[in-house]
Amino acid sequence: MQSQSKPSQSKPSQAKFSWQAGFTAGMFGFMYLPILVLGFYSFNEAPNSAAWTGFTFSWYVKFFQDGRILSALTDSLTVSLSAVAIAAVMGTLMAIGLARYQFLGKGLYQGVAYLPLIIPDIAIAVATLVFLAAIALPLSLWTVIAAHVVFCLSYIALSVSTRLVDINPHLEEAALDLGATPLQALVTVLLPQLMPAIVSGCLLAFVLSMDDFLISKFTAGGGVATLPMEIFSRIRVSVKPDINALSVFLMVTSGLIAIVAELMRHRSEKKRFQ
């Protein structure tokens, strides 16, 4: 692991290996153990054995040929991309509006806006189902998207509002004084400065939306199954190696997204100090 690393440089005289370093290395092991286990078994020939019986790629081939997994992946991508796109627009506007204006009930608005960050998913899922049943709206892919927009909105708005605090308001005022319309000032001055925060908020929202099981499960109609729903129904039955292969595939993908998001955040922080 990366962490069994370099002894402390801050105090060269104290060359002894601190117990915290060893402990941290152990915890790195703990964090990566399940991932390594899944990776290991995804290449194991025997379908249901803890012992290594030989190397195979067949589980990867199997899940790429699995129509239900692929259609679940399509449903998941449709939901997450649509929800994030809608939430990106509304969340950014909301964050700008909240930073700019004082109005009656602002505290309440703000409280509600960030509520999805704290209320347990199961409660949101239940409430949304009850609401959809009350207005007799048939469940479909669209109801899943509508429900996902709610929590995506909160995460994107949070990311944008953190960035807004550091933005110089005079730039936009200058644009307005120089004759730009409010829309021009927003698009050409404010949005470019907000872009890294919007993108990193969107990436986080996308990953959370792709990961969501409960809210999708409660709001999806009969023909709809997102990837977590499909995975859930399979692993309830038994442990299967093609799920291992799928896990490795998804983990590598989301790991890459995480790294991109981190780079974005880093860039936006650098910009802040320029």
Partner: protein, 296 residues
Amino acid sequence: MTVPFVSKPKPTTTTAPNWVQPVLLLAPAGLWLLLLLVVPTLLIFELSLVPNINPGGIVNPSGLDNYLRIFQPIALQVIARSLFLAIGTTVLTLALGFPVAYWLALIAPKRWQNLLLLGFVLPLWTSSLLRSYAWITILRPTGVLNTVLSSIGLPTLDLLNRPAAVVIGMTYSLLPYMVLILYASLEKLDRRLLEASADLGATPQQTFWRVTVPQTLPGIAAGMLLVFINGLGDFINPELLGGTSSMTAARLIYNQFLGATQNWGFGSALSMVLIMLVSLAIALLIKYGDNHAKSI
């Protein structure tokens, strides 16, 4: 927060009335949240007052029967178990997370800090279902753990489908959050205080308990709250790792809506209780946090 910068009316002919911009900015999200969050929450509150409602039944709020049912031993036991699992997870993540955050923030080489932190929280970005599923592979009777234990001659452990497996799974899921928050808190720690304490003759233990811990108390409280809330509402880990022995509030709610025992009113009442417990935890933190601020 930013200084609010309301754009001044400009001498152009296209100037819209004052209320147009705020409405354009705040109304879309506001309406969406109103329709899909506020109204639904009010609806489950209404539904929680309806005894024995099934899908399609007539809503006729008539009392607190559902809430009274929560105080019967069976439901009370489920809530107590949820609290117990959440508290156990909170304590465990704090115990495991603090040394990690301490090492990352105060001992690790400066230029590696960000990379190491990112590496530690990277598993957070992977599917929570699959991480939980991985623990099935590890903890099941013929799984990785027992294969390793028996190969070195130790007795095997039967952990899967027990509360212990749920705590392991939840601790694994929530440890990165705890480390992130503690790291942020420890990184801001004024190191001169630690040096001063050492210079004045304190042992490292005394410095830790009398300086480091009090200084990072807000971070500790925030981390514990976050883990507690997420642990209390967690569905996936208890469902996949806990078996029938670990019925929690979230699982019980799930069953009232999508399981065999459909009772939307009782499920709504349980959801309200869950929301109230979470709000209570937050209120305690705010109260506690204020006291801490005053004491400095």
